[in-house]
Symmetry: D2
Subunit: 323 residues, 4 copies
């Protein structure tokens, strides 16, 4: 059976939403930590503000720290709230292939458009292991489109161009959530060809577009949780070829992001990824992401301050671009 | 309530058993992959051959790749087979605090002596995060002794002397499974004091004992699955102060291990940890560990050959020391 | 006194030439290993083929492995052969500040336009150390323009945006030889401002130009030693805004480079940097770079084969673009 | 011709002396920065206090930052001051093989016992490169015994057991200055056999001796510059088998060293190796090592404070053990 959503359909702003936590969500004895009402509200807000797709349960979406019942009810809430208005790619990352397949089948049955899927990370996977994992899931769910999650810190290694070349032969793999546009990006998009849309971060989108406009069809972001307006303005600018505006917005995004990286690098960011993102969402004021779930509830004060500043600066951009 | 098992009780050979897999256990569509009969047989074999404690579900014990029902039934099998003859420390590592606590409560209710517990590893934990995680579990299970799992590859970072110093203040933390005896070991045992028994690998035991005899009360090993005899001989030699025999056995163990490390280092070993260990167990011939579960079912041929050789060499040692 | 050559003057193709070795130049008992006749011939060839500047004695220019008398006579040869037709930036990197200053004064006295200067690398320098080193040299030679050599493998660390920001305040620092255009490049050019021209590698030039056309005024390369024609075609394409031609040439360069990186990364390249570059120059056939000097005379055969292929492929490009 | 000094002769305390600097020795315009009078005084002091051998011009001995005339005159001073009373191993590390050979011949002609030799480090050397370098020097100086300098930070990589195995076949290589006693130490001493004495740091000596008493015949140290007494007491304790005294002194040394490592690891120490060591020597008060030479004259205040404390604590040990 043909996939209902393919690489050709991947376009625009793919926003990863947080999993809103109740006030006691940082406690180890919290039984159900999800604020389902806020979850539904965020879905509606994103869609009403023209998000192109919603992703759930990556790193800051707390794929790791929800209990299974929470994960189930949260994804049901998101999918049923979306009502098919935009594609939903549901996070199904676990510690092994069989649990990932089981969860994947669940969310597909709930009506998810596809999967947002990182690989098991207790033990690092080699090239054959990465490709084998995604092949196994694809074999189990031939109808499920997948956005692969290429995060070198979370999953113990960057996917190589060779991995991209091999994943490009699995029809289910339609996109990847990507980290950093640089030398390897060029090799990766070459290897991925037209079968996998490699999605850069919002603040890299313009730069990816400058290098390879036909490849840079979509961006992943969490900034939509702080307001969709700057992202839509950027999307419009790129689609209409208004390069100077795209550049201006990109500079504004990069300026806002400046204090998100504790020591200026991705490794140190990754140690507080969840906490930093939830802190900036809360600081921007549009969503109530709540606290981070255990064991990731702790964050040094100065690190948190950086994230608060990001949220505040982004909120100003949201005001600027929302009229 | 006082802990029923404390650091003072930690002595001898702590063997981590594999989770035996059925013939189709490497397939993603296998529903129940555990060979429970073989599991019981291994427990009995280990106990009859004088193992001091049994641990389950670390890395090669496939804590990551069992489904939850498999994990539950396997630990029930182990605990009920052990019948209290030796302590059983059951693996309860998951992706977050609450799931770890839930699993921990389950195995304690089953009659486990304590927990064998690694920390969540999707996102790296900083010092406060590591200590916070173990503190939270200890708060939730005040009666559960814990062996912490200090594996820098699996859990994204070596536990520092400062972490050991802080964990030593949590009464539940009674031991740690340790990687490599060297400069940091000295700092770690100093920080751990008498509250945490840092257990070196079998082939490092003698060396740890040479440096700090009072600290080197126990070793962790998987070699017991290939035969307890050399380990018992080593234990006796150390306990009786027969240093030259301890040295001889250690040299034999190290010689047997030589081809276990693909490129001679721990990082490269860690990429195939599960596969290497199960391969060597199967090659030694005493247990049928079966295949590795997905996504860790793949291993390069030359890497596997190294592990087979280890198993065969160890089997010869087992013959030598078992009369 | 004002500098005679400033960041404003840095434009076009900056080619680093090899230091041609005699047939016995790989031997430890070779007394004078430089082929001065070939050195002069290369200088003339580069200038007649419209190189914009010549650099000497970086890594593959064997700044490390010449004796001091060889270094002196080689730079004299280059500078006197150039006869002022193009700027010459002479390598003066040594193990310490005072030797670097002494050598810098020598080459400036010979008529060099400026310095091509890496930092001492026995002991890694922190931020203050890097800035302090270049400040000290600038204080000693207020009239000497410098191209700083930003090679993270050779000098034990990438220069950070903060270092670029501080170096930008030293008037002598007019350019940097840069490694990899990616996320940090954006931060580096922002920090460097207009005072330092960050020069990407030839195959990255187009990409840097796409991101920041006003900053990408010059490229560094060793490919000129294999023929200037493709580089001039690229330069013309960028200067005239013929973007599609620039892209085509860039793809051709990248295709030619494909086998230059032993395991696909810069670290492994760096272990054989000198050998790989001299091998590809010799394979391209325009220059006789001779063997690599000790201790860098050894290279695995398969690694060398990759470099030979690069030289051959580039030679075809040279033929294509030279009529 | 047979070597006059072999692995069999390597015993006891091998102290690396600093190269004392004049008050203006940190300036880039200092012409001769060596305090030759203090150099002679230190040599005499060390010998009168029963050092077993003197080494010059490693890392903190500022092999990198002396001008060649300074290096020459300093080594002449040391060798002539020693008057053959103890072996002198003179540093001859440079950026390439031929310069190392030339310097090696100079110091052997001056009367040095042998060489203290690190490998060129601008470009990392692979296994063949390391072995080839030492082979070439041995071929050039068949009568020169060598202590190889195994410092993974300075020379971009730890020497592997395979390298030790191959170096053990070069008769000239009689010892190595070693970093950290741990798992690899066991593999290294096995590979080195009896042909190379692997010398641990003073505070590791006891631990190396516990593991392999016949191998741990000598230690390298810089602490002799702060007073020979604790080192002699340790040596005597080990030689006489007074294990508990050896342990006590080792604990005292380790306690004194505690603040020498800025962030607790060797990498961060290595960024300020020279500055830290000279600072602690000066703080101990026995020698006047003077300032560090450029570009290594800068050190953060808090880092320097740690080194001062080390010197002061060691001075107390010196008083304790010198009566």
């Amino acid at each position: 059976m043909a996939l209902k959503f393919t690489a050709e359909d991947v376009k625009g702003v793919y926003n990863i939403m947080p999993t809103p936590a109740t006030a006691n969500g940082a406690r180890w004895d919290c039984e159900d930590s999800v604020d389902y009402v806020e979850s539904e509200r965020i879905v509606n807000m994103l869609i009403e503000n023209h998000v192109d797709a919603i992703l759930t349960n990556g790193t800051f979406g707390e794929g790791a720290t929800l209990t299974e019942p929470e994960w189930r009810k949260f994804n049901q809430t998101v999918i049923s709230s979306a009502k098919g208005r935009v594609p939903v790619f549901a996070g199904a990352t676990t510690l092994n292939t069989r649990d990932a397949i089981r969860r994947a089948k669940e969310v597909m049955a709930m009506g998810a458009t596809g999967l947002f899927l990182g690989r098991p990370m207790w033990q690092e996977l080699d090239e054959d292991g990465i490709v084998g994992f995604y092949s196994d899931v694809a074999e189990a769910l031939p109808d499920a489109p997948m956005i692969v999650y290429d995060n070198p810190e979370a999953f113990k290694g960057k996917m190589s161009p060779r991995v991209y070349g091999r994943l490009a032969k699995i029809p289910n793999v339609i996109a990847s959530k990507y980290i950093s546009v640089g030398a390897q990006y060029l090799a990766d998009i070459e290897a991925a060809g037209d079968n996998i849309v490699i999605m850069p971060l919002d603040s890299d989108w313009y730069y990816a577009w400058k290098w390879a406009p036909s490849k840079a069809k979509a961006t992943w972001t969490g900034s939509g949780n702080c307001g969709m307006a700057p992202l839509l303005a950027l999307k419009d600018a790129l689609e209409s070829g208004n390069e100077s505006l795209a550049y201006t917005i990109t500079m504004e995004l990069r300026d806002a992001y400046k204090t998100l990286f504790p020591k200026g690098n991705f490794h140190d960011f990754s140690i507080y990824n969840i906490q930093l993102e939830k802190t900036r969402f809360n600081a921007a004021g549009l969503v109530n992401a709540g606290p981070s779930r255990p064991p990731y509830q702790r964050i040094p004060d100065d690190v948190a301050q950086g994230a608060i500043l990001v949220g505040q600066k982004y909120a100003a951009l949201q005001r600027k671009y929302s009229h």
